[in-house]
């Protein structure tokens, strides 16, 4: 058995898995019937439909010919890891991580952390340029969100402001 479209093959698998998961989760709720729908009724229908569609997509990927096999292609691990890491660190900086006793470091630290880590995802990384960019972004964001829009943010690390 040869997979004729790799993209569809994995899409089909994903839809089936997600559909089954939702349908299974929904069946744990009260389903009820049409005249008296429980919380599980609608998701159960949708999940089942999604799993069926996923199956059809999967079948198609095995049966229908495509020109190039529709390969998924290389996963860009480097940008993926750095972008997500930058995002996570920014969250930690702004909100802190109570479970690990990390205090909120504030917006400014977050901006620098995010900019530096995210920039590592790019092919060309220049420390000086990134430092300038981070400073500019920190100023813009401080002015736009804290001064102008008056959004409530911890701006500086809590151990400084107290």
């Amino acid at each position: 058995m040869i997979v004729k479209s790799q993209k569809d093959f994995y899409s089909g698998l994903m839809f089936m898995a997600v559909g089954v998961a939702f349908a299974w989760g929904a069946s744990g709720q009260r389903v009820g019937d049409g005249a008296n729908m429980g919380p599980g009724y609608f998701p159960l229908i949708l999940g089942t439909l999604l799993a069926i569609l996923g199956g059809v997509i999967l079948l198609n990927s095995l049966l229908l010919k495509t020109e190039d096999g529709e390969k998924v292609g290389r996963i860009a691990w480097k940008p993926l890891v750095f972008i997500i890491a930058a995002n996570l660190i920014f969250g930690v900086a702004v909100g802190g991580l109570p479970s690990l006793n990390i205090p909120p470091m504030g917006l400014i630290v977050g901006v620098y952390a995010l900019t530096f880590i995210a920039s590592l995802a790019s092919e060309e990384f220049n420390f000086k340029a990134v430092a300038v960019l981070a400073t500019v972004l920190a100023i813009i964001n401080y002015l736009a969100f804290v001064v102008l829009l008056n959004l409530q943010f911890p701006v500086w690390p809590t151990f400084i402001t107290g």
Binding site: K7, D8, S11, M14, F15, V18, G19, F22, G25, A26, Q29, R30, D33, G34, A35, N36, M37, G38, P39, G40, F42, P43, L46, G47, L50, L53, I57, E70, V72, R74, A76, K78, P79, L80, I83, I84, A86, N87, L88, F90, G91, V94, G95, G110, V111, L114, T115, A118, S119, A121, S122, E123, E124, A129, L133, A134, L137, F145, L149, F153
Partner: protein, 503 residues
């Protein structure tokens, strides 16, 4: 005349100094972000939504309308200048627009897009105002079964016109509908799919979904390409104004585009996309004047007509949103989300319960269009400069705006984590050739569909045949079926694929 009193009420609301200022700021911000390569209107609006939180509802909606038009115009600008359509409806603009830019005629192309959109916007606003009342009356006759069928039709309509595989798009809708059920079930109060996480009791926020899928996913995908693969704008722009000859070619094209767009936009489903494709096809069928540049080689009609059509359509596509409360596309879905945040439930009741808001919004759309012309045409030079900013400087800034915007919505870091996870999922979708727009649409419609399904089935005592025994509901479903049949017909299917790979 009712129309005139209503419109003047609207303009009296919109024409205050503060509201004009918000429209202006919205337009400016919308264009500023929308013009950045790799960010479509959905991501733009999602990013800028938090900036409207602090405003009163009318001002917020006016600013959002500004953002919406700005973002759309920004999308056309990138389509013309860097061969990068910001959204499906400017896909055809790319064909002739980019050719014009390569010949150094980017200025006239941008002006044609701007002026064409403005002309279409004027007509669209009038139509919207004229049709709002009668359609709202129809809307009050809609029962739950009709609403449910209309939503099915809207969802089907939105995907049959999208590019790519139909069945995958439908699966994405289902996924979106399912994601919409996450959180507390309003009817029974029981928690669904929250996995015991307290932050999920309200479900996943739609801004979180929009930013994760459209913002982060795109960034990761863009970074995975080598710098040389990212099309960078390099040609210069000489002169802005179209020549007399250009105007003579443009005018009838704009008129045809506006007519087509206004009609198609009212239909539920991807009105703007269908309109721009239809307008382009119509122009191609119209005979070339002697000495005119052929299509695909930089014909100004190929820019003016689809741009006019998609703007007219996006104007008239507010009709189903405002009268029925049903968003016809992903951008409108975001607008619904925005309205909900400001405690406005879009639907027929808005017009009667809050006429100043309703008519103010309609007037502000026209103002948004006007702002675009007076703001963007002189500023084209600035927007072009923006396009030359290297991507390695842009994406950290975009990420930051997303992260801060998401955090400020609920002041919880949980949302920042979720955006990260959704970013990975968004990248996965791109890799698998799946479109995120249908998912967002399904997500917004999910809770409404469930509610209408519940009510319809309650009335019929659990009998599903209610959807086909009631005339209006049955015909709406029939149209949906016909749409599916049409696009799956072999001849049309081939044609559809051709259109999307054209040139």
């Amino acid at each position: 005349m009712d129309l005139i009193t209503n419109l003047s009420l609207g303009f009296s609301v919109a024409f205050t100094l503060t509201n004009l200022l918000y429209a202006f700021v919205g337009c400016l911000l919308g264009t500023l972000i929308g013009v950045l390569p790799g960010i479509g209107p959905v991501a733009t609006i999602a990013m800028l939504l938090p900036t409207t939180y602090a405003l009163p509802p009318v001002s917020a909606l006016i600013m959002l309308a500004g953002i919406y038009y700005g973002a759309q115009y920004g999308g056309s600008t990138t389509a013309i200048l860097v061969n990068l359509p910001g959204e499906a409806s400017s896909v055809v603009t790319v064909i002739d627009g980019y050719q014009m830019a390569r010949q150094g005629r980017a200025g006239p192309a941008l002006a044609a897009a701007g002026l064409g959109s403005f002309a279409a916007g004027c007509v669209g606003t009038l139509l919207l105002a004229a049709f709002a009342i009668p359609l709202t009356e129809v809307a009050f006759k809609f029962g739950p079964a009709e609403y449910f069928s209309l939503m099915i039709l809207g969802l089907i309509g939105a995907v049959v016109l999208a590019s790519g595989s139909l069945i995958k798009a439908v699966a994405m809708i289902l996924l979106g509908l399912l994601m919409g059920t996450m959180g507390t079930d309003l009817n029974s109060g029981s928690e669904r799919f929250t996995m015991g996480i307290p932050e999920l009791t309200d479900g996943v926020g739609f801004i979180v979904i929009a930013m994760g899928l459209f913002g982060y996913g795109e960034i990761i995908n863009n970074l995975s390409k080598h710098a040389s693969e990212r099309t960078v704008f390099s040609t210069s722009v000489k002169g802005l104004m179209p020549t007399k000859e250009d105007f003579r070619n443009m005018l009838p094209a704009v008129l045809r585009g506006t007519t087509l767009g206004s009609v198609l936009g009212i239909l539920p489903g991807g009105g703007a996309v269908m309109a721009s494709f239809a307008a382009y096809t119509l122009e191609k069928k119209t005979k070339l004047r002697p000495g005119e540049v052929p299509f695909g080689k930089g014909n100004i009609r190929g820019v003016a007509a689809p741009e006019a059509a998609n703007n007219a359509a996006s104007q008239t596509s507010f009709i189903p949103l405002l009268t029925l409360g049903i968003p016809p596309n992903a951008v409108m879905a975001l607008m619904v989300g925005a309205m909900t945040i400001h405690n406005i439930q879009p639907g027929p009741q808005v017009m009667t319960s809050d006429p100043t808001l309703f008519w103010g919004l309609i007037a502000s759309m026209w103002i948004g269009n006007l702002m675009l012309v007076i703001l963007n045409l002189p500023l084209i030079g600035v927007w072009i400069k923006l396009l030359t900013v290297p991507y390695r400087w842009l994406f950290p800034a975009i990420m930051l705006f997303c992260a801060i915007g998401v955090y400020s919505t609920n002041n919880t870091t949980f949302d920042i984590w979720t955006v990260g996870i959704l970013g990975v999922i968004g990248y996965l979708f791109i890799k698998l050739g799946l479109e995120s727009a249908p998912l967002l649409l399904g997500y917004i419609l999910g809770p409404m569909m469930e509610e209408y399904l519940r009510r319809a089935l309650l009335l019929s005592r659990g009998d599903w045949s209610i959807f086909v025994t009631r005339g209006l509901s049955a015909s709406l479903l029939a149209i949906a079926v016909i749409l599916i049949v049409i696009v799956t017909l072999p001849a049309i299917k081939k044609k559809r694929e051709e259109t999307f790979v054209e040139d």
